[in-house]
Symmetry: C2
Subunit: 326 residues, 2 copies
Amino acid sequence: MDIALGIDIGGTNTKIGIVNREGEILQKTSLPTSSENLSHSFLNELQDEVDELLNSNDDLTLSGIGVGAPMANSRTGIVSNAANLNWEGKVNLREFLQKRYQVPVFINNDANLAAVGEKTYGAAVGMQDFIVITLGTGLGGGIISNGELVQGPDSLAGEIGHITVRENGRHCGCGRKGCLETYVSSSGIKRTVYKLIADRNDSDSLLAKVLFKDLTSEVIYNAAMKGDSIAKEAFKHTGEILGLQLANLVMFTSPRAIFLVGGVANAGDLLFEPAKKSMESHLLRSCQNTVKLLPSKLDDNNVPILGASALVWESVDHMIANSVDI
Amino acid sequence: MDIALGIDIGGTNTKIGIVNREGEILQKTSLPTSSENLSHSFLNELQDEVDELLNSNDDLTLSGIGVGAPMANSRTGIVSNAANLNWEGKVNLREFLQKRYQVPVFINNDANLAAVGEKTYGAAVGMQDFIVITLGTGLGGGIISNGELVQGPDSLAGEIGHITVRENGRHCGCGRKGCLETYVSSSGIKRTVYKLIADRNDSDSLLAKVLFKDLTSEVIYNAAMKGDSIAKEAFKHTGEILGLQLANLVMFTSPRAIFLVGGVANAGDLLFEPAKKSMESHLLRSCQNTVKLLPSKLDDNNVPILGASALVWESVDHMIANSVDI
């Protein structure tokens, strides 16, 4: 059976999965992501785990390997100074894996993987123009235009978490101020909750009883479900800021759909309704009611592995399509 | 000699030019753009002019026809309800021209033409990732990513004049408020001049002696050159708003260069310097000093004809490239 290997290198753990063409994860394993003795330790451990997975079944034909990692450059195959991974300098993951397994290796960042995953297995199958917004600790964007991932020469396209939405706004981890992700992300909504409590001097809110470090989008969601007005307002505010920027995004690439994935997006209508309303009211008339705002169809936990494996099928399909064209 | 025909359908006049592969306009003519009896009058007149141009030289081999028109849909070849042209309903320009001349016909809007023109003959030759911003009465964007025009399914991508930059900001012709082009365009800078005169209660400014209807970016430029502080401030303000949005654009598609073309952009450093400074200060650090802000290399007056003809060579090159790949 033809399979793809999906590898998701995260800050703490690295997950590896064997995925078939239908997007089923046949087997899965993980190991700690280590930053010590990178090339002699982590990469060898990674290789051992992969070998074990692949050897567990004789019937598997490896079509390729997809890797998701922060600061991954899809063109060079190199991960450079990935702060989240504590990796210093440059690591050429593609070269390492290609040499070892003699199959095509593809590498990309999380948001781009989410977009390719949605296109291959999820709610965007058959779509040529759409955008995926990942809402985790930060905010990422994967843009598919005319069927292709918009990446830019250094694979830096889609960093829309760092669009400036408020001049002299909230401090961002990137060192600047007013970036979109300081408002729209799980850390953004948490900051909005504290701001609202401060503005309203509201010590009765359920959320005023939670320490800053313990606030998560899930805690805020649960409070909103119990009718807490700070929690509901925080989602509304987050959705409104997001919606305006989604309208601006539509002006750039004119997508048919935008998918909101992960973290805050799991709140469903609490986020989708104000976001949709704000998006429509900020869209050029000719674009109104032309763009769907949708949830993902993929399981949150598996998105990076699925997306990584989808890079492989994407490339296989591309080759087939090109040879059919001739 | 292989030639392309470039047709630029504007609000008042339609210009037609014969262009060679090097981007030289060999012959040029024009006719009034008429909205009366569209199909029986204007289209026939257009055809007569084209016939005359093509018959003037036996040595010409027509490779294709490129057409620039507002509200042109590049995929269908149709111009729909173009307000600037007073054309009601739908006009299938591509079908009309293809039937008559039996060559490939390409159609697109001004900003996209400017981008393709710059790529084929201008300052972007050999570039794969860049954006052209046209600054006329409005603001348009032509985005080239990985060598291809980003168009979207309805050919509506790049409408970045209608990004919302100020909630409840200036009224826009599109019926909404706070669109980028209400600040950054020849009409935008004119409004900024009047706002500054109002704010400062400055009746001594050279520009306070000019009626609103007579203000143009050239008049404002000339006043700035004479040291008028309102005029200089208006360019600075315009450049700063533009620069922030250029930084946001970079986050989307990660271009290598952005070209500012036409109208306000002709003011050179007066606009480019504040725009560049503002762009750099709003860029994610990894993107700082990676994007050039440049003027066009094409003659302003000929950009639409050149861009339209470039659509033809673009397609010819595409066909050659694909057959070489095989």
